[in-house]
Symmetry: none
Subunit: 160 residues, 4 copies
DNA sequence: AATGAATGAGGCTTCATTCAT
DNA sequence: GATGAATGAAGCCTCATTCAT
């Protein structure tokens, strides 16, 4: 399901496989918990990035925050994004929550400035998608670039 | 691997499981073949979209072509994108080819107008990521919108 | 069943797989046919070796004939012997025929000289087993030895 | 491979199929383990049989020990011998070890009394082959005979 | 007479889950 | 609380066999 087996997870966490089932109901429960933590980090970062900012200023700040997330939590962002695009999703709940969290700061701002909610979420999805995609492109193919350079490239793409 | 079993694939194709193995070496071989076809479609569409266009014009045309791909080949785009973000990839080859194909029209244009290759591919990744992400957002959450409306939302996100 | 697939057999015979089923009822039928040919060769050789000889003379001659069979038809002897010792045997018929053929010259001679039939076949099995086993030992581990040297070693083992 | 499926092995052992894979890496691993145990028994029996004996005395004792092995561990001897004559062998290692173990007592004795090593192993192979072949002939076709009778038949075959 | 594409039963292996300790 | 041996459903793949051409 995540192509990472419970055995691998237990081994890399240095605990026994049975212990995972002692602490979580199922593999889905474990993944939900991991995703919830990832979402909490996202909430915190985006709140800091959005607080007191609107318009182009907020957008630039959100882009930088998302790139930082990608750089610091590559593994969980990778899983998150790859699951976002999956059809069958046992943990749809958390996936949807993650999406909502990621889109909110920009979508809310657009709605506040008069945009239609559906259009706002499409535009927010475009910006978030641009940031995460460029972020992974960065880490996989151009890791020598700095965070600032990548942020500036994404913002350039978002201005014509 | 793709979380779609060979049994399911055979059943939905109306053929016997063994027949898949008569025509392909392995499941990875089958997926490679599907990806190759998806890439061919992408090549064709993007070539049409780019031909004779440069700059903002080409970008708008590419965005529209990618949205059309998402709408018409949702399943294969979904698989493609979700695999793009995976770590372990038995068919890394085709995935990389797909990425190269998707980025080329915009990256080449940026390089032609003087941009650094690395920055060009980061900007191209941002635009492609914006299009695909908004495209899936569209199909999953706002299927009542038209292609034109979504294209216009993405292009709006890419101009401020 | 023989751990050699019909595909391999067809390929190495340079014909189509379907043609095997055109000429034989089943894989078991094909194997039966191969075994029958192997047995015919065995019959011929052992007849030549036994004709006009009895006692130690016949035994020495049979040992030499079996070693020649091993050297010239290694593959089929290998299959034959390895199947002889298998439990489940779809073609038990031919296997038993092969055994009978191999034991007959020596068993008959022993019976003719007054031995009990059961004891005669046990003694014949010992001599045949000694020849075939030493023959394969020869080809696998000491291929540089000559037929005469190996025959003499086996006969030495059979005389104290 | 061994023409005995993992399902059958698990069923006849009264455990679940998965349990085999918890305890062994693969089917080959399981077979290796079984062969290793069979070889240990062979080592013990042959050591007892050889200890303090040389020449014809040792040979007679080894023949009796091999016949006892065949009688008491028919299944594993059958597999062992039939695999010995096979070409492709994933577990070649254990097979060769089994051969070495079976030949050693007689080959060593022959070398000690001045024989050339290659000839010694050919003669040892002849004696071991005679014993195992006659042993299986005994169990399959003349089960009413006693161990002593069969031993005496084999030894008779080995003395003229 | 011959072919080879297609089949499906059955084999090996993985892995989420359970449970006795 | 924690463990890890054991399980069995489900996945990938092989291969003897069939059949339309």
């Amino acid at each position: 399901m995540t192509s990472t087996s419970i055995d691998d997870i237990a081994a890399s966490a240095g605990i026994a496989k049975g212990s995972i089932y002692y602490n979580f109901d199922s593999k889905a429960g474990l993944v939900e918990a991991i995703m919830a933590r990832s979402r909490e980090q996202l909430v915190t970062r985006l709140a800091e990035a959005s607080d007191g900012r609107t318009g182009a200023d907020r957008q630039a700040s959100v882009v930088r925050a998302l790139l930082a997330m990608v750089a610091e939590h590559t593994a969980s962002v990778r899983v998150m994004v790859s699951e976002l695009f999956r059809e069958e999703r046992s943990w749809a709940e958390s996936i949807k929550a993650w999406r909502d969290t990621a889109l909110a700061p920009l979508a809310d701002d657009l709605v506040a400035s008069g945009a239609d909610p559906a259009e706002a979420s499409l535009r927010a999805a475009a910006v978030v998608g641009a940031s995460l995609t460029a972020g992974l492109e960065w880490l996989v193919f151009h890791p020598e670039r700095t965070h600032a350079e990548v942020a500036s490239a994404v913002l350039a793409a978002l201005s014509r």
